[in-house]
């Protein structure tokens, strides 16, 4: 089984670019990743591509071949859709393909175009990650789903909207020097608490923005990296995926994420590490409460104990486990199909020491990426490590 190395990563800035086509967004990110890797497009043997709602946003299905040709790749191309975890799943399939020797060079990425749909249109589009018959038809929106989880969390474990505000404040602060981030403004706890509510108890600052953007990474076999003399210090050493019932009401717990737990267990076993070995994590904070649920399910905190982590400074850059140093989905932005690979891109830069926040960290060696779909009916976890060569 080949070791899977990250040869290069690329991003578009995330933000409001309503007039840019999906194919152009992905071309920018994909070409940046290939350039970063020092790999030419004809060397790519497969494209693994994540996208959630291209049919609604651009009237465009069958995006795999379209995105391959946009970056000059003439190879099989497959699109993956697991809501906001679409490109996390694409990474997992890319890793398997390199590991089993089917390919030495693969391109993995994702793209979402959202702002051209307007707020109402994007709200409608995002809602279809839920159960149409029993959730959407009862008025469920994407923020409403996480609000239900937040309220359930408060009931079961305690905590407050002020605790959640600290998560938003932390992630905004992290994004300040990140040129790819959608929000690069500091916010205060008071601002977050005073902001209008979207779906009580969650307010505007508890939510990630609506974003356009794309991400890409070039994954190669260890043999290829050695043969070509690539500078690729970071490897993906663990991969896991978990699933759950689609509708929140069909889950045993409303304020826990078993799919994340299962994905994490699989990824930790695969990498031969445990949660205590992780130096920093990029987790799926589509809403502030989601970061809390993630750090608990990933094994960094007991159930009910993650709510105060940001407030207590444990997950800030100088804390014991920095979380979402990139700014997270909350401040970096969340073009949903691009997010899983964008987390890999951010972590790779942080581990290589080429991220604007690298100088704030103490030489991290092990990073974890957690990507979640819907109310975490899909989850992927990947472990990235700086390998001694």
């Amino acid at each position: 089984m080949s070791e899977v190395r990250i040869a290069g990563v690329g991003l578009t800035p995330f933000g409001r670019m309503p007039d840019r086509t999906g194919r152009d967004l992905f071309a920018e990110a994909g070409l940046a990743a290939l350039d970063d890797a020092g790999v030419v497009p004809p060397a790519v043997e497969h494209l693994f591509f994540g996208n959630f709602m291209g049919e609604l946003a651009e009237h465009q299905g069958h995006q795999g071949p379209l995105m391959a040709e946009a970056v000059g790749v003439n190879a099989p191309a497959t699109r993956f859709e697991t809501a906001c975890a679409s490109s996390g799943v694409a990474v997992r399939e890319a890793v398997k393909t390199v590991r089993n020797g089917e390919a030495d060079v693969v391109l993995v990425g994702g793209m979402e175009r959202m702002t051209n749909m307007g707020t109402a249109g994007a709200t409608d589009g995002l809602s279809i990650a839920a159960d149409d018959l029993y959730e959407i038809r009862a008025g469920m929106t994407f923020p409403a789903a996480y609000a239900l989880m937040a309220q359930a969390y408060f009931e079961e474990f305690g905590g407050s909207v002020e605790d959640l505000a600290h998560v938003a404040v932390k992630n905004h602060d992290n994004a300040l020097p990140n040129e790819y981030a959608q929000y690069r403004n500091a916010i205060t706890v008071e601002q977050a608490l005073d902001a209008p509510r979207i779906a009580d108890p969650l307010g505007l600052f508890d939510s990630c923005p609506i974003s356009d953007g794309a991400s890409a990474a070039v994954l190669v076999s260890d043999e290829f990296a050695e043969r070509e003399g690539l500078d690729a210090p970071v490897s993906i050493t663990g991969s896991g995926q978990g699933g759950d019932k689609l509708a929140l009401h069909d889950r045993e717990w409303l304020a826990r994420s078993p799919a994340t737990e299962r994905a994490a267990e699989m990824a930790y076993d695969d990498a031969g590490i445990g949660p205590d070995d992780v130096d920093l994590a990029e987790v799926h904070d589509c809403f502030t409460i989601a970061e809390v649920l993630a750090i608990e399910a990933l094994g960094f905190y007991e159930d009910g104990a993650g709510i105060t982590a940001a407030r207590d400074g444990e997950t800030t850059r100088d804390g014991r486990l920095p979380v979402n140093v990139s700014g997270g989905l909350k401040a970096k932005g969340h073009p949903v199909g691009a997010t899983g690979v964008a987390q890999i891109a951010s972590l790779t830069k942080l581990l290589r020491g080429t991220h604007p926040r690298s100088s704030d960290l103490d030489d991290p060696r092990v990073g974890l990426a957690h990507n979640a779909g819907g109310t975490v009916a899909s989850a992927t976890v990947h472990v990235l490590e700086v390998m001694d060569r």
Binding site: T119, A120, G121, T123, D124, S127, L133, Y134, E135, I136, R137, A138, G139, M140, T141, P143, A144, A147, L148, M149, Q151, A152, E155, P196, R197, I198, A199, D200, P201, L202, K245, A247, L248, H249, D250, L254
Partner: protein
């Protein structure tokens, strides 16, 4: 924004349940292991049993979590603010709509009904405070 001027296309199983609730005879599906689920299903989502029977929905349940939705999809634009809530009915939970944003909180006892949304006039499962 409104949908077609005619009734939304029928969804077998789901609309059958709404018909039954309207007639005061709501039900859910139960497997031999006591797992509840909502139609249409051929398999218990919790244990895989294919031995499912229709059981009467309890007359009342309890709100387990809720949210006041203030930014809605186009299909609920004129209904906002409203509540979407999850209520516990014993073997099964239901996600439902409450038109009055102040009518429920966690622990409120509710029954199940069928209403019409303000925006589209579509049928919606409602959780009605008792």
């Amino acid at each position: 924004m409104s949908r077609d001027d005619t009734e939304a296309p029928r969804e077998d199983g789901f609309d059958d349940l709404l018909d039954a609730v309207e007639e005061g005879a709501g039900y859910y599906l139960s497997c031999a292991n006591g797992h509840g689920s909502l139609p249409p299903r051929r398999v218990c989502p919790h244990c895989g049993s294919q031995d499912l029977s229709e059981e009467p929905l309890p007359d009342s349940g309890t709100i387990e979590t809720f949210t006041v939705v203030r930014v809605a999809t186009p299909q609920f634009a004129d209904d906002a603010p409203y509540v979407t809530a999850v209520a516990d009915f014993g073997e099964v939970r239901l996600t439902g709509f409450v038109a009055d944003p102040t009518a429920v909180e966690v622990g409120t006892t509710v029954g199940v009904g069928v209403g019409r949304t303000e925006t589209t006039g579509d049928r919606v499962l409602t959780l009605d405070p008792r």
